[in-house]
Amino acid sequence: MTRQMTGAKMVVQALKDQGVDVVFGYPGGAVLPIYDEVFQQNDIRHVLVRHEQGAVHAAEGYARATGRPGVVLVTSGPGATNAVTGMTDALMDSIPIIVLSGQVPTFMIGNDAFQEADTVGITRPCTKHNWLVKDTAELSDTLHQAFHVATQGRPGPVLVDIPKDVQFASAEYTPPQKARTRHYAPQVKGDMAAITELVEALETAERPIFYTGGGVINSGPAATQLLRELVEATGVPITSTLMGLGAYPASGGNWLGMLGMHGLYEANMAMHGCDLMINVGARFDDRITGRVDAFSPHSRKAHIDIDPSSINKVIHTEIPIVGDIAHVLEDVLKVWKSRGRKVNREGIEKWWAQISEWRMVRCLDFSQAGPAIKPQYAIQRLEELTKGHDRYVCTEVGQHQMWAAQYMGFEDPGRWMTSGGLGTMGYGFPASIGVQMGHPDALVINVAGEASWLMNMQEMGTAVQYRLPVKQFILNNERLGMVRQWQELLHGERYSSSWSEALPDFVKLAEAFGAKGILCSDPADLDDAIMEMLDHDGPVIFDCLVEKHENCFPMIPSGEPHNKMLLGENASTKDAIKEGGAVLV
């Protein structure tokens, strides 16, 4: 049976056939036919955002919290260009997103038509792949391919640009089963020889460590299960990047905490001192490695990654394994078990003793003294009062993000949504909207700084319109905290433009949008105020006035290796960063 339909109808049909239940978008001239079709059905819910950047971040939040790809619908020209930041963010963090953009009619392309932009040209470097569909007969096939490419291999954002005349014209619909997914089939099984080599190294290593990343979460629930099984069975310590938090539970016995620039002392020291590093789905990002020529100098390194270009990009790896994490870990476990479940018990025992010593530094200690709320204290109380809930946490970007990563614990994957690679201020609020769409009954909190939060504050309208009870927990220091910290450390305390004057009254702002606002400035009131936020059935802006000049520690200064960390209170921050480090960000 052939099914003739318009291009616009095909879009809606393809989304239904791909199992999409929610689309984040904003209408405009070049997508009106698609919006007309969206109007005439009830299977797919459309969430009207207030800015296209918000749509993409919301789709990212939805994708990370549900494990299903996020879908965005925007118009041509400014609609598409506004989505660019979100797509770049999704590319850096490997989040599967399908962006559908309207385009001026094919016969007007290239004529500088109203709201025309070279969308596929602009988005080529910020998508995994993109398509301009010039013929309605190709449209449904292309849409199915888009879902395939976005979700297979290393996930990422894709864009399909659909001219308005293609939306109006009719052609035969191709169902997903008949779509040409062509040759795009990334390798999922790892090389058995390399896997055996890894197992051999694991059996004898005295100071092994698992260094895991977002790839474990992207690989799916099986990867998380297998990772936990392997870690528990071998007794090897495990640390994770910002992106990988939750793959191994924070309450787990082998957990060292996050590593990296603002990672825990014990995690970074263990990375520096290990003799076998097993990188599972991480990419040796510069926030992780610090100074590369002094990175973990005495270790053999194994690297499991589905993207061959991640291997040997930054750090030379002795045991590279290209494949899907779940497939590879399954084989690692199988081989390790079949060889008799050997590990170097004695060595690992000593290793843990050394780690316990590092832990005694208690790098996250702070003192809640004085009349102002310490930001660390605010996060600590938030963690304490919410950890029993069915909870999802988003963040913006900056000091609050690092504090949230340090002081909150994540027991499961997909519970922690933060902009890692691109570091997009303004990510968290729309992401929390996307998460809440995917989990309507869960507690969704966005830990924010006031500066980041203002970057996409217009989405308050979205939260109120769709009755999404997202909790905006703003650590308000009236500063661009991380910028201020860097200016203090390496620009002679010259606080150039890192100070927000004329901030809004956040309580009144919440009320202006029809939401609830809570102000808290006294540590003694904090618990009650947080409880009030949790008890309110609706979106809340929580304006938490915190200590204005708090710095985020531990910190590996730019250009330094892992064993050269700055610690809180005790550490001298004067002249901390060398001249050469000042050129870095």
Binding site: R124, S309, N312, S558, G580, L584
Partner: protein, 186 residues
């Protein structure tokens, strides 16, 4: 345990100086990339090189299979061994790329380039240009009373050598196709 001391001084090593432990030797490699001949595919390849700061010494492209709509892109590039490996891995990630071959490491290969050279002159110089063209097996594909266009096929080195010889004899313009290459044998 006391806080760690950070010493004063400067370092050139940094998080952004990503490749200090790798070899600094620059190598030139010829890559053959088989791609779907679809709109924008060349832009993806070129954008990858410019976006990631890789070099392109020469690049040629044409559809080689009209029924399967595949094109062959031949790229000559220079970089450290580690950068060359990255280039190949990054090319392999592009969705419409089917195969990436490094002809420089996959065994012996044949590399050829075609050049057109316009030489203007009179008298002895004109005769000398013709004589040298004969030695290089270049064909005169256009001639006027005061100029020739020579067509020359060969390795890039051979074309360089011929162009050098023509320069004092009145070389006014040169067009080169860039390298096309195939591995030897079956």
């Amino acid at each position: 345990m006391s806080a760690l001391q950070i010493k004063k001084g400067s370092t050139k090593h940094s998080a952004y100086n990503l490749r200090p432990t790798f070899s600094d030797v620059q190598e030139t490699h010829t890559l053959a990339v088989i791609v779907d001949n679809e709109p924008g595919v060349l832009a993806r390849v070129i954008g990858l090189f410019s976006g990631r700061g890789y070099n392109i010494d020469s690049l040629t492209v044409a559809e080689v299979d009209h029924t399967g709509h595949t094109s062959r892109i031949t790229i000559v590039t220079t970089g450290t061994p580690q950068v060359i490996e990255q280039i190949k891995a990054q090319l392999g990630r592009i969705v419409p790329v089917h195969e990436v071959h490094d002809l420089t490491v996959e065994g012996p290969s044949v590399e050829r380039e075609l050049a057109l050279l316009k030489v203007r002159g009179a008298g002895e110089k004109r005769v000398e240009a013709l004589r040298l063209a004969d030695i290089f097996r270049a064909n005169a594909v256009d001639s006027t009373l005061d100029s020739f266009i020579f067509e020359l096929t060969g390795t890039p080195d051979k074309i360089d050598a011929f162009a050098e010889l023509m320069r004092p004899l009145g070389l006014v313009e040169i067009a080169r196709t860039g390298v096309a290459a195939l591995s030897r044998g079956s």
